[in-house]
Amino acid sequence: MADKKIIDAKKYSELSKIELSTQEMEILNEQFPDILEYFDLLSQADTSENIDTQTLSNVFRDDIPADSIADKILDVVPEKKDRFVKGPRMM
């Protein structure tokens, strides 16, 4: 049997921007190999034929002004200044 794949939970928690506790990382490191082993079933599917997965086309609407809900949107913003959403420092 092939070696089970390991996902480094720490690496993907950084990429997903979700901080995890040590315990959570341990549990995920334990569970991921089995889940990935199941996903690897797909490697048996014959997709050698040229399968077109790009079947979408863009849909546009007319550029017609409508009522704005900007005030209501601003109401739920946790931290703001005037009509700006306050964000964290970038660096």
Binding site: S13, K17, I18, T53, R61, P88
Partner: protein, 446 residues
């Protein structure tokens, strides 16, 4: 209205033992007369309701009040339904048991120690437990049909593009649809009729495909060609489920349906393909929850990286974190082709197989769920075992075809659902077969 108000107090009291609702409406609105007048409705808490808290069963949105109604919500209001409240679900619709909710699990009205199914478990339990006449759920991989089956009610996942997703908080946006849940096929058809109005604000909504589903409802199934895939009766299928579904199929044959067993080779890959695509889309769709414009904001921090990571650590439950990370992995450099692209190609294979089948058959039938409703807590420590519950439902989402679950029997008082699928925009056929099953199955739903 006073009769409804006193019933509302009874419902709130009864909810304490079932936990079908997260939030009750403050005010029971007197909506104009329409097709849904006199009907009470529960709305899954991933569907936006203006002025009424919408949490997606998550701490992330615990205090979020949407500034707008989902398209389907404005439609049900227009048709006179009374919204009683927001139904519990798995967090961000990720789950098959409504146990992954930050507001506690919902209990199956048929047996309070068992799950109602998920992720629209609150919606199903509300209808089954007489806490609402009808309900709206959403279905990404079976989330309407699974709880409908487990709670002994009717639930329909429409064709992708029939019902507007505007206002549905996205989980797997190429897979999901909002759909009706009710005690009988007629009410399901009625609610579908009301919510399938075209909406240009959803770019994936298709114009001109909805019909009058109640007018077209009949019970004439003689001559209909029905395929029964052997793959839907796989190893994990409970013998009681298999017996009940096959008995029902035999009854359909006596009523004139032509039934044939077939094989669909690609179905065995559907669960893996579904989870890779759904988790990938989830990782993207839930990136918006950073606490800046709405949602949980855990306070000051060093920089954006720390703030976002911290907000999301506190706001998301463990199942959501697991799925976002797996989705991030499947989309990441080095794995993208092997997982995400491969899953999309397999999805095309499955869709083409369904198209070939529907060129010869009118419908496909099988069980909705491989098992009876399981006990609360039974599958929580083994995520893969929970994911396997969706084995019979996910293929309809991958292909975008309509599918309905209708109660067909019981085992030790636990409900069993039969699943009927058809070609794109052919809700009429699955409703009619469901209608016939209601007549011949030999029991009524109280």
């Amino acid at each position: 209205m006073s009769l409804l108000s006193s019933k509302f107090e009874e419902i709130k009291e009864k909810n304490k033992s079932i936990n079908a609702y997260i939030t009750f409406s403050d005010l029971l609105e007197n909506n104009p007369d329409g097709k849904l007048s006199g009907k009470t409705i529960a709305i899954k808490d991933t569907i936006s309701t203006a002025g009424l808290r919408t949490t997606c069963a998550s701490k992330m949105l615990e205090n979020y009040v949407p500034p707008f109604d989902a398209h389907v919500v404005s439609l049900v209001k227009k048709q006179g339904a009374t919204i009683l409240g927001k139904a519990n679900c798995d967090e961000f619709a990720m789950g098959s048991s409504t146990e992954h909710s930050a507001f506690g699990a919902t209990h199956n009205p048929h047996d309070h120690e068992r799950v109602p199914g998920g992720s629209s478990g609150g919606s199903a339990a509300a209808v089954a437990g007489n806490l609402a006449d009808i309900a709206l759920g959403s279905d990404t991989g079976g989330s309407i049909r699974c709880p409908a089956s487990f709670c002994g009610i009717v639930g329909l996942k429409p064709t992708y593009g029939l019902v507007s997703r505007y206002g549905l908080v996205a989980y797997g946006n190429s897979l999901e649809q909002i759909g009706p849940m009710a005690k009988n096929v007629y009410d399901c058809a009625l609610l579908l009729e009301c919510i399938s109005d075209y909406d240009r604000r959803d770019a994936t909504c298709v114009n001109g495909k909805n019909i009058n589903y109640t007018e077209s409802l009949n019970d004439d199934i003689s001559g209909l060609k029905i395929a029964v895939p052997r793959e839907f009766f796989g190893n994990g299928t409970d013998p009681e489920v298999e017996k009940s579904v096959k008995n029902t199929i035999d009854k359909l044959v006596s009523e004139g349906a032509i039934v044939e067993e077939i094989n669909i080779e690609s179905i065995k890959y559907s669960l893996a393909a579904y989870y890779i695509i759904a988790m990938s889309e989830a990782s993207s769709n839930l990136a918006r929850f950073d606490g800046l414009r709405y949602g949980l904001h855990s306070g000051k921090s060093k920089d954006w990286n720390e703030l976002f990571s911290n907000n999301r650590k506190s706001g998301f439950g463990f199942e959501v974190k697991r799925r976002i990370m797996l989705g991030t992995f499947a989309l990441s450099s080095g794995y993208f082709d092997e997982y995400y692209i491969k899953a999309q190609k397999v999805r095309s294979l499955i869709t083409n197989d369904f198209k070939k089948i529907f060129s010869k058959f009118d419908a496909i039938i099988g069980p909705t769920m491989p098992t009876l409703p399981f006990k609360l807590g039974e599958k929580l420590t083994d995520p893969l075992s929970m994911y396997m519950s969706d084995v019979d439902t996910v293929s309809a989402n991958l292909a975008g075809i309509p599918s309905i679950s209708v109660p067909c029997g019981y085992s030790d008082k636990l409900p069993i659902g039969i699943q009927i699928m058809s070609s794109h925009f052919n809700e009429k056929t699955i409703l009619n077969i469901g209608n016939k099953i209601e007549q011949i199955r030999g029991f009524d739903i109280e």
